[in-house]
Every structure is written in structure tokens, then in C-alpha cells.
């Protein structure tokens, strides 16, 4: 059995200098913007400081609602699940198509206020190994509440773009350990990664591991407590 290597990450936000004030400008900029910017506005948002609750799963939808006041496009952009796309180019095309569709059906050009433009940014992610290793899933019961939010982001959010199956690292590891963890994997799959803060996600995951595996001592490979 391969140990789970706990990694951590920190995010730097880099401004691209590109801005949009209308839906058309958003679409035009999306055509050529650095792919890291699309990553940032879907995933990076979770790791950056913010006071707001996440009403939508990406910044494009949030801006269309809050600054353009166009709920229709906001709702359509919000149902795009980035995990459905094998690469960022596919995600870029989907964004452009959804926006084009909206542009075709609207006759009025909506403008954001000058100080509410969409600012395209990109992320610089620094990933580092904590050199902590998890030998048995039950160890997560104790370890998860103490993980940094950077580790939660790396293993639960960022992982989805690293696997063709778009799963998180926890499920990818558990599947290797056998069917006794199927119930836990199914429960983890139910956690929506986009709407809660990383602090809340950490608490949810810790709760699931505790519910399914009990205390760490009883959750070795020889005495799993599947199903919880």
C-alpha cells in the first residue's frame, strides 16, 4: 500500500492587466487570455482572501450577476462544472459558447460601472511536500482537522484537474485500498467543492472520516469500519 503524501500549497495572484466592462469584452478577452487565468477564476478564488460567500462557482458568473446585473448569463455560467473538461482549453471554449449564446439573444448591451470591471488575474501556485505521510485512512481522523487550508485545496480542489477522472486525492487513494472504503468515497463525492470556504470543507471532510472510520486506532487495514 502506498502512503498518502500530504502536500501543501500557497497561492500568488498575478494581475494580467486585462479588463472587461461588457459581456462582449469578457468574451473577447476570454478568447486569448492565459489559461492560468481561467484556472484562477474557477479554482483559485477558493484559496484567496475574501469576505464574500460564494454564490456562484466561478468569478465570471459572480461578475455577470453583481456588476452586469444579468442573472440569465450568471446562472448559465454557474452550471459549468470545470471538472467536466479534460483541459482548460475545453473549459475556455464552453465559456465562450455560453456567452456567445447570450450575446445572440440580447439586444441591449449592459455595461458595468467603471470601478466594477472584471479584472482578469492568474494564479501562481507553489506546491511543497510537508513530508508527512498517512499510512492508513483512519489516521486522517486526527490529521484532517489540523491540515492547512492549502493542503485541503491541493488535495480536494486542485487534484480534480490532475486526474482524468476529475476526482480528489482522498478518493483516488481510497479506491486503491479496496471496497471497504466505498461508502466513505461515496460520501466524499457528495461534498460540493465550490460553494464553501476551505475551512468549512476541511471540517466536512474531517466529519466524514470520523463518521466512517471512527477513531484512528480502530481504522487500520486489518480492522476497517466501513460504512460508518
Amino acid at each position: 500500500m502506498v502512503d498518502f503524501a500530504i502536500k501543501d500549497c500557497a497561492l500568488g495572484i498575478v494581475a494580467t492587466g486585462h479588463r472587461a466592462r461588457t459581456l462582449g469584452e469578457l468574451r473577447n478577452t476570454l478568447r486569448n487570455i492565459h489559461p492560468g487565468s481561467i484556472y484562477h477564476h474557477f479554482w483559485g478564488t477558493l484559496l484567496r482572501p475574501q469576505f464574500s460567500d460564494r454564490e456562484y462557482n466561478n468569478d465570471f458568473a459572480t461578475w455577470c450577476d453583481h456588476s452586469l446585473h444579468d442573472n440569465r448569463i450568471a446562472e448559465r455560467l454557474a452550471v459549468i462544472d470545470p471538472a467536466d473538461y479534460s483541459d482548460l482549453e475545453g473549459l475556455r471554449q464552453e465559456l465562450i459558447e455560453v456567452i456567445d449564446e447570450r450575446l445572440d439573444e440580447t439586444e441591449v448591451m449592459l455595461f458595468a460601472h467603471a470601478d466594477e470591471q472584471f479584472h482578469f488575474a492568474r494564479s501562481v501556485i507553489v506546491v511543497f511536500d510537508t513530508h508527512k505521510r498517512i499510512a492508513y485512512p483512519g489516521e486522517f481522523v486526527k490529521v484532517l482537522p489540523e491540515l492547512s487550508v492549502g493542503s485541503v485545496f491541493y488535495h480536494f480542489i486542485d487534484a480534480r484537474r490532475r486526474y482524468p477522472t476529475a476526482v480528489d486525492d482522498f478518493r483516488a487513494w481510497l479506491v486503491e485500498l479496496g471496497p471497504q472504503y466505498d461508502a466513505l468515497r461515496a460520501a466524499i463525492a457528495e461534498v460540493d467543492p465550490y460553494f464553501e470556504s476551505l475551512h468549512v470543507l476541511r471540517a466536512r471532510l474531517a466529519e466524514l472520516f470520523a463518521d466512517h472510520l471512527g477513531d484512528a486506532q480502530s481504522a487500520t487495514p486489518t480492522s476497517p469500519t466501513p460504512g460508518g
Binding site: 501543501d8 500557497a10 497561492l11 500568488g12 495572484i13 498575478v14 494581475a15 492587466g17 492560468g36 484556472y39 482572501p49 475574501q50 469576505f51 464574500s52 460567500d53 470601478d115 470591471q117 479584472h119 488575474a121 492568474r122 494564479s123 501562481v124 501556485i125 507553489v126 506546491v127 511543497f128 511536500d129 510537508t130 489540523e146 491540515l147 492547512s148 487550508v149 492549502g150 470556504s197 475551512h199
Partner: protein
Amino acid sequence: MSDPVPVSLLDRYAEHAGPEVIEQLRQLAGQLAGLKVVHVNSTRQGGGVAEILETLVPLMQELGLDVSWEVIEGNDDFFACTKSFHNALQGKALRIPDALLRTYETVNARNADRLRPILEAADFVFVHDPQPAPLLGHCAGRRGKWIWRCHIDVSHPHRPVWKYLRKFVADYDASIFSLEAFAQPMPHPVFIIPPSIDPLSRKNQPLTESEVLKVLEEFSIDPRRPMILQVSRFDQFKDPLGVIQAYQLATQFVPSLQLVLAGGTAVDDPEGDVVLQQVREAAEGDPDIHVLSSGHYTDGTISALQTAADIVLQKSLREGFGLTVTEAMWKGKPVIGGNTGGIRLQLMNHRTGFLVDTPEGAAMRIRYLLADRPRIKQIGQNAHELVRQSFLNTRHLREYLTLLVALLYGAEDRIELE
């Protein structure tokens, strides 16, 4: 009996931010151990930049970086010029006389002569705000990366002044702005790092009830009556006169209301006295308006006032970030803030406070909150937790370290370290 084991500064921060946050800092800093970092600004005391550096520098030192903090020296003309820069970068159309610009350049050349050895030997140099920006041009033998850190709202700069300053900062290796909206196009990577507060500073530490009451008594503020507070420099962009107007409107419905305006002036802000005089004139004749200038209070006093306030205002017309908003939220207070700059990032209507555009709007929110005390408490709790998660200086430090690693490894999208 053995001596007690000293508690490290990082351990003390762990009590507020969480041990996992500190562990992450240690691991990130491990990649930068021993590197020489120099911060340069224009004042050791007064203003948000000095406050941030007071804590970031020792924290970086404890994490194993070789960090120093240098302050440039200037004369009255120099600070008059840089204050004009500040106003112009925040959008005020003004012309700065050539003589003052020459002073600005000469003072920087003189400071460069003094600081050159340490700056040229550094692996990283953080130059804060426009005051020391020309130093880079005087350090031809520099071997490290230079970062220009802009703490000012430059979303709508007065273009002639920005054009003049841009030539000094364009050659840096990176720049940092507090918000995306502030970022200006540069020929180098532009990072976005919001500022932070220090939970261990005297003004952010919890106080006892008797400590708070003592301060209220000192300034003849009645603890049994509602009190609203604005803490900020006496600066036209902080709109202290608008706050007085909002208070006067609100007192028509809440006659017992008291207003406290507590503001300091920094060494590099020669306009402060002028605005303070205007405030005193507007407050004249109303014993329930308490104007406290820097000669009257300490950080402990400010903390006591924030703790005692029912509502905190920050009715700025322009604002870099608005650290006083963050401080008030840390103390569990709802904040009514101007709809501008970083305040917009921090305040969500009904959740952490209210954004307003006019004195009338501020007056309306004051009335609304004072009529609903449970709401005040609930908003305050939300505000405190959100600051804990995202706006303590441990987060700020993490982002500085991330930037340094990024510059060290080439600022690629993804840097995988062992």
C-alpha cells in the same frame, strides 16, 4: 527551578491563526532560509505601512530569513511632494512644482548613497510606496530582485503624476498592489496582496471592561449612551466632515448619540493639521462630538474606543485598503464604510457591515443598526471570524513568501518544490 521556556513570536500567532497556519509558514520559508531581504519605506512610525512592517519584519526573521528594515530620510519639501503624489495617485488633479520633484529625486539620491551597500547586497528588496521608489535607479550593482509595493489606491491616478512615477518603478522585477482594481500595467509581474492586521498588537488585543471605562472617562464619553467612532488620519479622503454630517443627521432620530473622531498624523503627511482644523470648526459647539488628535491617545486608547463603540465608521472617499475597517471587524463591530477601494472588499451589506456613498446613507445605516441590537452582535461575530480566516498578518506573510519563491523560481503558473 528552571527558567520558563520563552514562547516564540510565531507560537503566539498560532494562538490566533491556528498552528497549521504557522507550520505552513515554516515550510514555505524553509525554501528561503538565509536569504537577505530589505524593506524600505519613509517612516518608522505612523501610517499603515509602518504598522505592517513592525510585525512582518520580526516574523520573517524568526522564520529564518535575514531581514532588515531601512527608512529613508527626507525634509519638509520632500514630504510635501510625496503627499502630493499620494493625493494625485488617488485621483486628485494637481500639478507638482518642478522644484519639489527635483527635491524628491535629490533626497532619494542622497538616501541611496547611504543605503547602497545593504540594498545592493540583498537578495530581495521591498520598496514601499512612491517615496523611496527611485532608489533602484541608484543601485546599478544590485544583485537581487526588487519589488515595488504600492499600498495606495491607484485605480484612477492623475495621469501626469503616475506617468512621472511610473518611470521609477517600471524597472523593478515585480510590483504588488492591494487589489486587482488598483493594478496598473507594468512590464513585470504584478502581484495582488491585500494587507492585514496584527492580532498581537496592543490595539488589537482584548481589553478588560475597566480598561475601556477608564478611557471613556478620560475623554468624557458617556458609556451609557450609544457611540459611533471613526479612526483614521485627518485626511480629506477619509471624509471626517462627511462623518460629522452623518452624525448630525442621525441625531435627529437618536438624540443621545455620541461621535468620536480619533485620528493621527504621520510624519510624511503635512496636510493633516489643515484637515484637523476643519474638523474642529465643524464640531464646534457640540459637546457630544469628541475630536481626538494624535497627541491625545495611544494604541491602547484606540483599542478601548473601538471596543466601546456600537458602530465603527470608515466613510472614506478613497481608500487603499482600510485597515481600520479590518481592525474594527476583528473586535466584532459592524462597520459602515465608504463604497470605495478595499472597503468594498471587506464589507457586505447585512453580513459584515454596510457600504455607503453619502452622509445620508451612513446616517440611515446608523439608525438601522442602533434600532436592532441583536443585529449588531450577529454582524460583529461574522466580521471577526472572516478577519481571522483571511486578514491576519500571517496570511499576508504567506503571500510575501509565496511571491519570493515565485520570483526565485521564475513566476511560472505552478512551482513544485521538494
